[in-house]
């Protein structure tokens, strides 16, 4: 259980998040990917807070808390927008929402 373990897990999570964002043709799946990314970030911060910074310094954890908060807010707005999209376009497939281009 070294720092690197956590970092590797986090890196994998990040990559999977990116993968989801890039390949999933579904807005909600993209949101899930984003959540994975944010989780990986939080995990990083906590891990660094545990291993890199002095024990009494828990800045990393606090950043992670804010990260969770922001993720929640973002998710809320994201879903609201997805609903709006669904209303307007009848689909939440990102490739079908492409009237603006060029």
């Amino acid at each position: 259980m070294t720092l690197q373990h956590y970092l590797v897990i986090s890196a994998i999570l990040f990559s999977l998040g990116i993968f989801a964002v890039l390949t999933r043709r579904n807005a909600i799946s993209i949101l899930m990917g984003i959540e994975l990314i944010l989780n990986s970030c939080n995990l990083n911060f906590v891990a660094f807070s545990r291993f890199v910074t002095p024990p009494e310094n828990i800045d990393g954890q606090i950043i992670a808390i804010f990260g969770i908060v922001l993720a929640a807010a973002e998710a809320a707005v994201f879903l609201a927008i997805i609903l709006a999209i669904y209303r307007e376009f009848g689909s939440i497939r990102p490739d079908e929402v492409d009237t603006l281009k060029g």
């Binding site: 964002v21 890039l22 390949t23 043709r25 990102p94 490739d95 929402v97 492409d98 281009k101 060029g102």
Partner: protein
């Protein structure tokens, strides 16, 4: 006094021109403006006569600074020596007479005042050229006379042939002028001045002495030949002679004044002026050009039927004689022939004008509309002499001597003069002097070149006699070929005949005051003339032994007993060299033969010209087609120029743009290899092309902007990865 007189000479015609121009601009012109110009010329003439007594023994130029640029100063000024005065008198006299003649000849032309305006401008320019003491001034006058020639040839511009001819004249002479300008540049670059004579600073003639034997002779030769190019153009020497016959499209007085007596002689004058810088090589070039011109033009003249064309080729031929004279160093002979030729050739032209006028007036009776109509008889014109206006066609004439006795007599005198009928006609003396000069040079240097030239000149002289008498016989003798025209022909009014009489008078040396004074004109030193190395150098001739001063004016000093001067009392000098005696005898013989043949062919009809021409068809064709010069120029040079300019225009449209296009296409194709598709829009224009490439790039970037958010995210993540990888690699 000199300055004052010269100023008057110059200003009189200039003022006349200015008044004409202002009146014209204000649309206030009136017909009697002719008096103005004529009066101005007479004033100039009188002043020129007065100048005769003002020639200083050691003339200095009268200059003012024209342009000063730091270390360089271009000055303008007058230089007055005997040659100047002779030229002034010749020009003003002929010009005055032509003015007077024109009053009759141009009568009734709708642009009558304009004609006199141009004549005045021409006179001014010509006089300016004559009196200038420096090359720049000469060049200015040079071009201005060219302009006037242009304007006057194209005076009846409604005729396409006139419009063509004037353009051709200007352009052809300009080709020569450019050569002259290059020559000037060479001289200027070397000497840092364009003044010929020593004023405040040393002039070119002094400076050029310093070059003797410095190995710069080739350079100087080239410069000399280039300056001579100007003369080739103006004096219609081969190969730039073709404009002069076409220039006959102008009114006949113009032909007489500009294209016979003065402007075309300016080339000879220039060459004579530049005599001191001519080297052996450049002299030889000049001599050859002169000689070839003399024979070529003479042969062409034989077969012309247009009376003015015959005279035009004759002029070319005679100018060739003059050039030949200067080329062989017979400076005085050249200038002498210039003056005699000015009178008798002007006379011939005016006489032909009188004939044409007679016929022309007849036409006018037929066709009351005179000139307002573009289709009047001047409109029936010909390309390269193939169509001849009926009033100029000698085949329509004949037997006019009774109808126009004065014209006939005067023209006969001129013809005798030009043919070199001995002793009582000026032409004989001057032509003989040229032939003598050539032969003398040939003997002196034992130079094969000069022997050839002598033979050529001799033949040309004979042909001259032949075709001139052909003209006389066809026009004035025999039976009228066109009875109707003949009926209508009449003697010209006095304003036209008086000038003829004056000129005829001047063609008889006895009464010509200009060459009374022996030792009057003395050649300047020609510093660079050396016998060609292969030539056997004879003991130095007397041309060079006595006086090294630059004075053109022969102060009548006892030593100036050179073999080449003065015409009237020439016999005395012929003793000095056998050449002149031989030349004289030979020239009399060839003239006689020429006249005799002409008599046999065209008067007695003993031989048929047609038969001869059929027998020698190729030769005849060559002559008839004027050695194909025009065809050559049209076919090659003009086509080349036009083609080239088309090419350039094409180039502008396609090559310059094409290069960009090419670059663009390559870029586009490379681009396309990546993106897989591109549009094949046709493009032209550099900016269009660049714009299009840019647009295409913009379009491609646009296409990347698919509207699908995941594409964008691909770009983001891909961008990140790429940035990292690239910077890692770097």
């Amino acid at each position: 006094m000199v300055v004052l007189l010269i100023s008057i000479i110059l200003l009189a015609p200039l003022t006349a021109f200015a008044i004409h121009a202002l009146l014209g601009l204000a649309k206030q012109g009136f017909p009697r403006q002719d008096i103005l110009s004529t009066f101005a010329m007479l004033v100039a003439f009188i002043c020129s006569i007065l100048l005769f007594w003002q020639i200083a023994p050691d003339p200095k130029p009268h200059t003012i600074d024209w342009i000063s640029l730091g270390s360089i100063t271009f000055s303008m000024g007058f230089y007055l020596d005997s040659v100047t005065v002779i030229m002034l008198i010749v020009v003003t006299l002929v010009s005055s007479l032509v003015h007077i003649f024109s009053i009759g000849y141009m009568h009734g032309d709708p642009r009558y005042p304009r004609f006199f305006a141009f004549l005045s401008l021409f006179s001014f320019s010509m006089l300016f050229l004559v009196v200038s003491d420096n090359l720049l001034g000469i060049y200015i006058g040079w071009e201005l006379v060219g302009l006037c020639s242009y304007l006057l040839i194209g005076f009846w511009f409604e005729k396409d042939s006139a419009a063509d001819a004037c353009k051709k004249a200007f352009l052809t002479t300009r080709v020569g002028d450019v050569g002259m300008f290059v020559g000037m540049m060479m001289l200027f670059t070397r000497f840092k001045t364009l003044s010929l004579y020593d004023g405040a600073d040393a002039g070119i003639f002094t400076l050029v002495e310093g070059l003797s034997g410095t190995g710069d002779m080739i350079w100087l030769s080239i410069a000399g030949v280039l300056i001579f190019c100007g003369a080739v153009g103006k004096s219609a020497q081969v190969p730039l002679h073709t404009w002069l016959p076409d220039a006959m499209e102008g009114p006949t007085p113009v032909s007489a004044l500009i294209h016979a007596a003065t402007m075309v002689a300016a080339g000879v004058y220039l060459t004579a002026r530049m005599f001191p810088i001519l080297t052996t090589s450049s002299s030889l070039v000049i001599a050859y050009v002169g000689g070839i011109t003399a024979i070529v033009a003479a042969t062409i003249a034989i077969v012309r039927f247009d009376i003015k064309r015959v005279l035009a080729y004759s002029t070319v031929s005679q100018l060739g004689f003059m050039m030949l004279a200067i080329g062989v160093g017979s400076y005085v002979a050249g200038l002498f022939h210039l003056t005699t030729h000015a009178f008798f050739k002007a006379l011939l032209f005016l006489g032909s004008g009188s004939v044409i006028h007679a016929f022309h007036a007849m036409h006018s009776h037929h066709d009351e509309e005179h000139s307002d109509d573009g289709e009047h008889d001047h409109g029936l014109i010909h390309e390269h002499g193939s169509e001849i206006p009926p009033d100029q066609d000698m085949r329509n004439m004949g037997g006019l001597r009774r109808k126009m006795p004065l014209t006939f007599i005067t023209m006969l005198i001129a013809t005798l003069s030009i043919s070199g009928v001995p002793f009582i006609f000026s032409g004989f003396w001057s032509k003989d002097k040229i032939l003598g000069g050539v032969l003398e040079r040939a003997m002196e240097w034992n130079s094969i070149h000069h022997y050839i030239l002598f033979v050529v000149a001799l033949i040309a002289a004979g042909i001259t006699a032949f075709y001139m008498f052909r003209l006389i016989f066809m026009t004035f003798f025999g039976v009228p070929q066109n009875q109707e025209m003949h009926e209508m022909a009449h003697e010209s009014p006095w304003v036209m005949t008086v000038p003829l009489l004056v000129l005829a008078f001047l063609s008889i040396p006895v009464v010509n005051p200009l060459w009374f004074n022996k030792d009057y004109v003395k050649p300047p030193e020609q510093h660079h003339i050396h016998a060609p190395e292969h030539a056997q150098v004879l003991p130095d001739s007397k041309t060079r032994n006595s006086d090294f001063s630059f004075a053109f004016l022969g102060v009548s000093d006892a030593h100036a007993a050179e073999g080449e001067e003065d015409g009237h009392a020439a016999d005395a000098h012929h003793a000095h060299s056998p050449a002149h005696s031989i030349a004289m005898i030979l020239s009399i013989i060839v003239a006689g033969v020429g006249i005799l043949l002409s008599w046999l062919f065209y008067h007695k009809r003993r031989f048929s010209a047609e038969a001869v021409s059929t027998a020698f068809r190729p030769v005849y064709n060559l002559f008839w087609n004027k050695y194909y010069f025009d065809e050559f120029y049209d076919g090659v040079l003009v086509a080349l120029t036009v083609w080239k300019s088309r090419l350039f225009a094409q180039f502008d449209g396609s090559i310059v743009d094409g290069i960009v296009n090419g670059v663009g296409t390559v870029t586009r194709d490379v681009f396309a290899a990546f993106t897989g598709f591109f549009d094949n829009s046709v493009v032209d224009g550099l900016v269009n092309r660049i714009a299009e490439i840019t647009w295409a790039a913009g379009g491609r970037i646009r296409r990347l902007q698919t509207g699908a958010i995941q594409t964008y995210l691909f770009v983001v993540v891909g961008g990140i990865v790429l940035i990292i990888l690239i910077f890692r690699v770097l």
